[in-house]
Amino acid sequence: MDLAGVLLTVAIASFFAGAPLSLIRRDLGYLTTFGAALLFGAVAVDALLFGPVRGAAWGGPLGDVETLSLDALSAFFALATSVVWAATSVYSVWYDDRPSPVLAVTYALTLGAIALLVTASSEVLFLIGWETMTLASYGMILEARGRTDRVYSAAFVFLAFGEASTLLVLLAFAGLFVGTGSLAFGPTLSGTVLPSLVFVAGLLGFGLKMGTAPFHMSEWLPIAHSSAPSNASAVLSSTLTLAGAYGLFRLVSLLPGPPDWWGALTLAIGAISVLLGALFAAVSEHSKGLPAYSTIENNGLILVALGVSLLAGANHLTLLAVFALFAAFYQALAHALAKTVLFLSAGYVEHLTRTFDLSSVEGRATGPDRAALVGTLAASLSLAAGPPLAGFVSEWMVLEALFQSYRFGETWAQFVGLLTGAAVALGAGLITVAMVKFVGFAYLWKPRCARAPSERGSLGPVVGAVAFAVLTVGITAPWILVLLAPSVSVVMGSSVAAPIGGLLSVPNGWSILSGAPFGILSPPMVPIAIAAGVLVAVGYDRLGRHRAVRRVPVWMAGSAPAREGETYTSFGYSTGIRLMMSSALRTREVRANAGAITTVGFEAVEPYSVELEVFDVFKLFYDGLLVVGEGVSRVLKERVMPGQLGRYLAYVLVAVLVVVVYIASVST
């Protein structure tokens, strides 16, 4: 074990040590996780640059060796998560004012668990981390303010979906073990049927954690993530879903060359996730529900990119497969960073205004905190794929990959690529609406009441720092892609140095090529061009005749400046989408009488209240599932487990007999 290995072991131990330290003093726990995150990130950079790092090792259950290790693939995810955690840990010191240390303890445990599963060298260790992560996150969600029914049900839903995910992952790993005979991540599975089963189980299991279709919508991720305390929301939405993505990529790296329907399935799930995630984000009124839906959209994009990569692999289009994988990685990185800012910012807004309701925030967070404003603006611009930020580059790459679906051999595959492209483009438009709504109504709205004072100082530096990372990742994309090449190589199962060195993907800095005869983008040139434009404009203004700036009130068609209740609500802002997309959202208006009927002249006037409701079609699926589940439970309870001792003794007897017969048959 070299120095890096020691440091890696120390980092992971420190994450877990944060939990007992939190009991002494909360700030101590958060500072420990902060330090651990920095260390973790440093080791990850080391692993990316200089090859795999191996930490502590011990004997596994089946005689193999369990190791804490970072190869290039896990190092990428370790790096992304550590940046997020550094920010959320500092933020937590500012944010967590709860009397009990439970949040701090579960927070540290969650971080440790994710770090553990990312560094796990075997399926067992991975599952330990996975399960610890789920349980610790459950504890975090329960710590949400108020402990309302919503919180309890959100935590329960989270746990239920988390365990379903674990079950599917377990299934996938069991398949891996059966096929390879090893619990370690290493040997590649071979065969035809088994890999497909493993892939589908893994796609659904990890996809479940990522909140992608068909396991998403109001059913779990947005509710769970938005109900949690804000620091927990950031950890859940940015890094817990990242853990899901890591699992998926790890699994793909262990599978043989894919048949084409894997890619198509992934594309389909991704496309639906992108579309519906964006749609629900655009109509969400919850300042944390909106970013949570956007998480689904982003994870959908990761799946889309992965799907293109798999399809391209099946069609022996290695260059496109590599490029699409790069897009997936970049999308994961961009999303993790930007989404962190958004959740931290939503927590800041909540702290200032005591509400998650965007319609009643009404710009009360607007104020002198420029860093928070600019940071949130940058992050939401990135999520809306605005140049020159990270999200812009990743979305460009995803779309470029999709555009090249004409290269697929089969017509139906081309068609799937085409449809997915349309869904992604529509999703990008809708997510822009959502992001404009978030920043506009939380930060940019002209406040009509006094800005709520912050009792705990500014959040600007933290938000600003992560947002700066978003900008940097956007501008320096070509060099970062070069850095990511080993990670992509792990998934591809072969070195991607050749395509990088060649004309494809990334030539030596400055620009990204998306295919031999295809698109090109130079991320560093975008900010240079923007800056040049700004310079020209400012210079023109300075050099030309200087005009005095005159500020006048907003033009309100001649009316006096708007009063309370006379301006657009965030709900009103997105009602257009509610009505336009009513077939997908099942929009309906619910009216109720409110108050007494009065008579105006001869005309009776009934005051009424009106709600415009949207409905998640996936809820029908889960409602059905619930009915079936309840029915099965009832049958089990009444027929199988009626509470009679004799019956249970008989069950035990039968079980013993079965085991005896099995052992006898095996030993002979």
Partner: protein, 441 residues
């Protein structure tokens, strides 16, 4: 004509007229008359014979003129809900070239309730009329709502003549009808052009707008004024219609209505135009009758009410009038009624010019006064029923009350837009042809 000035004849013993002349048409050969009592924010409906104090229509109208300003002109409906807010539209917006505000309750995109707010341009004209001679008052009444000036002038003059019980020259009455029909054609064309603009039918807009301009030029050439100000003032120098002028007028009108027929056919052949108007801003017949809607709005719901037929005065008593009627109650029905009224007005004008009374000396008795020195005048303005009530004392105005088509149509207008989308607004607004200037008199 007699050498006696018109106003001189007003100075007769107006008070000498008894009440034996039953009020001709207030209590009411119509089944209803609606007065919005804006002063108290209430809407009142009278049915059947008017109660005693209902004779004092002008009291209510005067109170309307003194109403707190700006004020709602339709009953207020209360709607609450998540994300519901009030969107104030106006008073200055190019979508509605007049000044008035609309308080839109909405959760975005859809109008839940619409509260029209009038009174921004309250010039308090009617309140300033007492003490003036009818001629001077006429200058102000004409300029009360410029695009309906002939209708207002005619109704006002009829009320004055009724109050003073003075006979009027036959040519004078025919001239008034002529001016009103010209004005009606202009306004309907203008309204159709505006609807075409709202529907982005740009060629249709330009063509119809051109026809409206031609109408103004015809009016200008005939009466010396594009808006007919001064056209109906007895004794005004511009109002002589010589045979040559009548011939020119007839020719110009024939040409114009021929062009309009072509445009109408093109409009009705344009699916996008018709589709956009259909089921937009619907007023049911039941609601229209209940609220006392008038004019094309009422006729578009299938009720064939028109003052020119139901309360006719000379010369409408002698003319054939084809009364268009539609059943849809939507913007399309209102626009169709207007379009067909262009046709029927052209027919009326043809009859007027054809049978122009040569004998200027023949005189007609006015409608009988409704009380001592008190008279009513009622005409069908382009937007509907317009009533003036005038009291005279010693030949000078004692008080003037007015109930315009706009007054009557505000409530149904507000109702027709309930649950419509924002973009329906202009179709409803232009097809109703409401005028803030009338309400803000």
């Amino acid at each position: 004509m007699t050498s006696r000035p018109w106003s001189e004849s007003l100075r007769g013993p107006a008070g000498a007229l008894g009440t034996e002349h039953a009020p001709a048409y207030l209590p009411i050969d119509r089944a209803f008359a609606l007065v919005n009592d804006y002063g108290t924010g209430r809407a009142l409906l009278w049915r059947g014979p008017a109660p005693a104090e209902a004779n004092e229509v002008a009291t209510l109208w005067r109170r309307a003129a003194e109403a707190p300003r700006p004020h709602r002109v339709a009953p207020e409906e209360v709607v609450e809900g998540y994300g519901v807010f009030t969107f104030p539209y106006g008073p200055i917006s190019m979508g509605v070239p007049e000044s008035g505000r609309f308080d839109v309750r909405t959760y975005g995109e859809r109008i839940l309730t619409l509260g029209p707010v009038a009174g921004f341009k309250s010039r308090r004209i009617l309140g300033a009329l007492p003490g003036l001679t009818p001629e001077d008052a006429l200058l102000r009444v004409e300029r009360l709502a410029g695009n309906f000036s002939a209708a207002h002038a005619a109704a006002f003059l009829a009320a004055v003549e009724s109050a003073a019980a003075i006979e009027v020259a036959r040519t004078e009455l025919w001239t008034r009808a002529l001016a009103q029909e010209l004005e009606r054609i202009y306004n309907h064309l203008h309204q159709i052009a505006r609807v075409a603009e709202a529907a982005s039918q740009n060629v249709g807009l330009a063509q119809t707008h051109a026809l409206a301009e031609e109408m103004l030029r015809i009016e200008g050439r005939t009466f010396g004024h594009r808006w007919l100000f001064g056209a109906l003032a007895p004794g005004a120098p511009t109002r002589r219609l010589d045979p040559e002028g009548r011939r020119w007028l007839g020719r110009a009108l024939r040409e114009l209505s021929g062009r309009f027929e072509v445009l109408l056919e093109l409009f009705l052949g344009s699916r996008t135009f018709v589709d956009r108007l259909q089921t937009t801003g619907v007023v049911s017949r039941e609601r229209a009758v209940r609220w006392g809607a008038v004019g094309p709005v009422l006729r578009a719901t299938g009720v064939a009410w028109d003052d020119r037929l139901r309360a006719p005065s000379v010369p409408y008593t002698d003319l054939f009038l084809e009364l268009p009627r539609e059943d849809g109650g939507d913007a399309l029905a209102r626009i169709l009624v207007r379009a067909h009224e262009v046709r029927s007005s052209a027919l009326l004008l043809e009859q007027l010019l054809d049978r122009w009374p040569g004998d200027a000396m023949a005189r007609e008795a006015p409608a009988p006064p409704v009380g001592p020195g008190r008279g009513l005048g009622r005409v069908e303005s382009p937007s509907g029923d317009l009533v003036y009530e005038v009291r005279l004392t010693n030949g000078r105005i004692a008080s003037v009350g007015m109930r315009s088509a706009s007054h009557a149509n505000w409530p149904v207008f507000a109702e027709s837009l309930r649950h419509a989308v924002f973009t329906d607004f202009h179709f409803a607004w232009e097809s109703f042809g409401l005028v803030f200037a009338e309400t803000d008199a």
